[in-house]
Symmetry: C2
């Protein structure tokens, strides 16, 4: 059986649960497309059971909670082909090769919405699908927004939606917002707006 | 080029943003494995641009926020091979064929933790990865927990972690909880515990 290099994220230095570790035996690249880069590895579980795992390699992404001076949030309604419907979500996009998350966040916010922001804060990270992808999404909040030209890619069609935090949380409660990165952003936004979670603002 | 049936979720009756719709031209099955069922479709965007989309078909899943009578949450620390580390997460699992989400939630809670619950509430749904999967996760809260035997599958190794809501939210703030379904559950839990979002409890 062919073997390929281990391209998963590096082991965390703080990882102290080696007792649970599933050990890689060998692996192969199954398919490398435009969006997906599928790997299949053979793995030994802590109970000795051997099984295969399939997952997709992902370069990581950045998502932004952009807040206008009047407190409204800048969101996007975008068609999501796999789900056969549109979603209300925060601006986000994949990291380019060797791109820092904050740089990607600033680039994606400008490209997709046209807004540039004066003040940026790091929120947290979210791992959307730990069962079958290496994707990490870095979450940011942006204030001091100034409108400008957007630069969407061919085929990237969306509507901008300005919404108050109250209406945003009501939409979640009513089941109208279900995208995972947007819900992770919502938790951070909720706690930041209540002054319960402090974030550090950096002026650009 | 071969063509395959459209296996994406049915169109929502309420979907009113047809102007954004990306239209399916044709598609093919690329790979059908244990975890992944990869599809590639050719698609026309609203601006006329044609592109391919790769995504994985997923049967859906259920996740549970189990709360003990003393208020602590029942969580799992589990190795996630694709991420090369362990995660602290709420119990969850895939729906079996034709299985109702609540039935799957009850089955997964019992299999993974051994707990059976008297009271169940539907929270919301989360779509973990709208860019490349059809996965929907149905979120539930469970109370009135009674311990019993677990029935984990071969290779399914985990540690149970009992944690107070305060410590849980502190762990999120400190970056120690980043799994997307768990963060979506956290937003619901936070608002339910503050009595801001009402949920309907059903006794089993």
């Amino acid at each position: 059986m062919p073997d390929s290099p281990d391209l998963r994220p590096d082991r965390l230095a703080c990882e102290s649960h080696g007792v649970l570790e599933e050990v890689r035996l060998r692996g192969e690249s199954l398919y490398k497309g435009v969006l997906l880069d599928i790997q299949r590895d053979w793995v030994r579980a802590p109970d000795g059971h051997e099984q295969s795992f399939e997952y997709t390699l992902h370069p990581g992404a950045a998502a932004i909670v952009p807040m206008l001076d009047d407190g409204r949030l800048v969101m996007e309604r975008q068609w999501r082909y796999a789900m056969n419907r549109s979603f209300l979500e925060f601006p986000a996009g994949k990291l380019n090769a060797h791109e820092q998350p904050l740089v990607a966040a600033q680039r994606e916010l400008a490209e997709e919405t046209g807004y540039r922001a004066r003040d940026w804060a790091v929120l947290g990270e979210v791992h959307p699908v730990i069962a079958y992808s290496t994707e990490t999404i870095h979450l940011f909040m942006a204030k001091g927004l100034v409108a400008g030209p957007s630069a969407r890619e061919q085929g990237e069609c969306m509507e901008l939606v300005m919404i108050s935090p109250d209406d945003f949380f009501k939409a979640i409660y009513q089941g109208q917002v279900t995208d995972s990165k947007t819900l992770a952003c919502a938790l951070w936004l909720d706690r930041v707006l209540r002054n319960e979670w402090e974030v550090k603002w950096i002026s650009q």
